[in-house]
């Protein structure tokens, strides 16, 4: 039998029982849809993680934070004694639990990065460079731009305390994001680069208005309660706006920095660190300012850049051995990838269950079809069809069913993926307040082609036994079959 005739006969047979074809094909569609969506999401997320790591350099970054330790022991709920009914006893026991008796011990920072530790870490073998992360909050005023008619300069005051961070003069990414002005020429320059958002909040909305501020003076006012831990946890120890400043510092505005946009390259650690930064101060200048606060010693955290990724692993060990907390892109990257792999396997397994159920549906349909068409099989054999012709007929039917279900499933998954990309992007942007332009659901050609081949393959495998059964039908018995 020629392929064209084989396909024509198969389509004819499928159309003869449309409702069964739709139901069975629907099963294949759902299975293929689930599998394609899960694989495309896994690919997309993998790509998102990879895009966050724009260079190998980041794999050499080791972030050091204070060591957290446990205070106290795992408590035990006191026994509720005395004469009372069981309901009251249970209620009191629950109240103990609610109030923290028997709860987990507290975690507090027990190992800070003091000046000695800072020097020690910078001198670790394998460390190429060390950078302290310096953060603080300051009240901000800018010498007014005015329209030229004022005789006395006035000050524009920021509506809130601004978060400042120290940044090195040598930086790969920040200089590329300047809207106006320049980046620092040295780490101890008395200058400030301002984020466009703070300027916007101060009423300088356009690029032109913001550019006009280059060369003006910005006054930073440090108030009690604004620095230290509060720099990490705004609102915890809110600075008193009317309190007299501990000190003030006048710096020249040398640049205006815009926000990172879309898939623009960035250093992961810097991005996390500078996520909410309003002011960028030269590293040494920033450090000197923070050190003017009473009671401050050492940075809150540090970035160590190892010479090689192998060194990074050794540096991580050395830091951990000092009782400090370590975070590295490599570690986070590995963790996320591992989690993603695990999640993909679990989701993939569920999708396989869906495909397996669809395959059972095909088996059932083909077995029924063989039973119902026993006389037809007998007739075909009497007319000269070989066992192979008969088997091919049922295999082709099932393959067509798989192909149709696969085309629909892949088509739907591409459609749903597009909706998912749009909705996911909006959700992520809303949640992170950062632009997100990566693709969550990715459909490379191999996934589309592979998905179709897979659904056809499932159809063929599912029909194998029924097709062999059809091929073995005894024509004499089949022609007598009612």
């Amino acid at each position: 039998m020629k392929t064209g005739d084989l396909l024509r006969e198969s389509v004819h047979a499928l159309l003869a029982n449309r409702s069964r074809m739709v139901l069975t094909g629907g099963g294949v569609t759902v299975g293929t849809l689930a599998l394609a969506l899960i694989l495309s999401l896994a690919l997309g997320l993998d790509g998102v993680i990879d895009s966050l790591l724009t260079s190998d350099e980041q794999l050499r970054h080791v972030m050091v934070m204070p060591g957290f330790g446990t205070v106290g022991k795992m408590g035990s709920v006191p026994e509720v004694k005395g004469e009372m009914d069981d309901v009251k006893r249970a209620r009191l026991k629950r109240t103990f639990l609610k109030r923290g008796y028997g709860g987990p011990p507290f975690q507090i920072p027990i190992r800070m990065i003091d000046a000695a530790t800072e020097r020690d870490l910078a001198a670790l073998p394998g460390v190429e460079s060390a950078r302290a992360f310096v953060q603080d909050r300051y009240g901000v005023e800018i010498e007014s731009v005015g329209n030229g008619s004022e005789t006395v300069p006035t000050l524009s005051r920021a509506p809130r305390e601004a978060l400042s961070i120290g940044a090195p003069a040598q930086h790969e990414h920040y200089p590329k994001r300047l809207l106006a002005g320049r980046w620092f020429t040295s780490d101890d320059e008395r200058a400030v680069v301002v984020h466009e958002l703070l300027l916007y909040e101060m009423g300088f909305t356009s690029d032109a208005a913001q550019s006009a501020l280059i060369g003006r003076t910005m006054r930073l006012s440090a108030r009690a309660g604004g620095g230290g831990l509060a720099a990490f946890l705004p609102g915890l120890t809110a600075p008193k706006p009317d309190a007299p400043p501990l000190f003030t510092e006048d710096l020249e505005i040398v640049g205006v920095l815009r926000e990172r946009f879309g898939s623009e390259s960035a250093a992961f650690v810097d991005e996390v660190w500078a996520m909410q930064a309003d002011l960028f101060l030269p590293q040494t200048t920033a450090r000197a300012l923070v050190d003017r606060r009473p009671g401050r010693e050492g940075p809150r955290s540090m970035l160590l850049v190892a010479k090689t990724t192998e060194d990074a692993a050794r540096v991580e060990e050395a830091v951990a051995a000092r009782g400090l907390q370590v975070r590295s892109v490599r570690e986070a990257f590995d963790g996320i990838k591992k989690w993603l792999k695990g999640a993909t396997i679990v989701a993939g397994f569920l999708a396989f269950v869906a495909v397996f159920v669809a395959a059972l549906g095909i088996v059932n349909t083909m077995v029924m079809s063989v039973l119902e068409r026993t006389r037809e099989i007998g007739l075909l054999k009497a007319l000269g069809a070989t066992d192979r012709d008969v088997a091919a007929l049922f295999l082709a039917e099932s393959a067509i069913l798989g192909l149709a279900g696969g085309v629909l499933g892949i088509g739907l998954s591409v459609g749903l993926g597009a909706i998912g990309n749009q909705q996911g992007r909006q959700l992520i942007e809303k949640a992170t307040m950062m632009p997100f332009e990566a693709t969550l659901f990715v459909f490379p050609w191999w996934l589309l082609g592979g998905g179709l081949a897979f659904s056809v393959g499932v159809g063929l495998i599912a029909a194998l036994v029924p097709a062999l059964r059809a091929a073995r039908v005894d024509p004499v018995v089949a022609l007598r079959h009612e």
């Binding site: 039998m1 020629k2 005739d5 037809e376 007998g378 007319l383 000269g384 069809a385 066992d387 004499v476």
Partner: protein, 230 residues
């Protein structure tokens, strides 16, 4: 040399004490151009004989030779080829595929051996014309009478122009007038095309009227073989 040659053909069903002998040493020759009617009661071995001639079943002993093929020596694929090229079968219950036109049913054997579509259509229409159904070629079996359905089945058996036409009770489901029409077609095919026909039937009068020879079977043996007409 006879077109059909059966020598000492044996066929048993079942095993041991439950074994039933369907054919107990059948010898039969059918010459090309003959119209042989095989008669006999139920269980006489007629249908078994038909299945062996059709290559749908194999004999347990003896030889079955049709148009030069020793059916016992053929592989399953060889038997399929034999069915496709050497014989045409007409069944009592027509065995037409529902949901397909008369033409499509007649085309089926040609589709199986890969005849080109245009050639297929021409041969099917020619066969339908030969059984007087040219006007009804686009009708589905459900739109045709019993007699018309059997004529479509005859056209399907004829379409590849096989040397031997096997008819298994072709009039069993038809009234006597329609049965006469169908028999007339078979007789005409023999006359005009020189077709060789082996037909199983219960109806002795039809056999006497249309066949050239009457073979009677009893208990798995041929007990009589007599010429009916010259």
């Amino acid at each position: 040399m006879p077109l059909v040659e059966l020598r000492g053909v044996l066929k048993r069903y079942g095993r041991g004490t439950a074994a039933v002998t369907a054919l107990a040493g059948v010898d039969l020759d059918v010459l090309a151009g003959e119209f042989v009617a095989v008669l006999g009661r139920s269980g006489s071995g007629k249908s078994t004989l038909m299945n062996l001639l059709a290559g749908l079943d194999r004999a347990d002993g003896g030889t079955v030779r049709v148009a030069g093929d020793d059916l016992g020596a053929l592989t399953p694929a060889g038997l399929a080829r034999y069915r496709a090229t050497k014989i045409g079968i007409v069944f009592q219950s027509y065995h037409l595929l529902p949901g397909r036109s008369a033409t499509q049913n007649v085309e089926l054997p040609l589709a199986l051996d890969g005849t080109p579509v245009s050639e297929r259509r021409r041969l099917a229409e020619e066969a339908l014309d030969a059984v007087g159904l040219a006007e009804r070629r686009d009708h589905a079996p459900s739109e045709l009478s019993g007699g018309e359905q059997q004529r479509v089945a005859i056209a399907r058996a004829l379409v590849r122009k096989p040397p031997l036409l096997l008819c298994d009770e072709p009039t069993g489901n038809l009234d006597s007038a329609t049965a006469g029409e169908v028999m007339e077609i078979l007789a005409r095919l023999r006359r005009e095309r020189g077709a060789t026909v082996v037909m199983i039937t219960h109806e002795a009068d039809l056999a006497d009227r249309y066949a050239s020879r009457r073979v009677t079977m009893k208990d798995g043996r041929v007990v009589a073989s007599e010429a009916v007409r010259a």
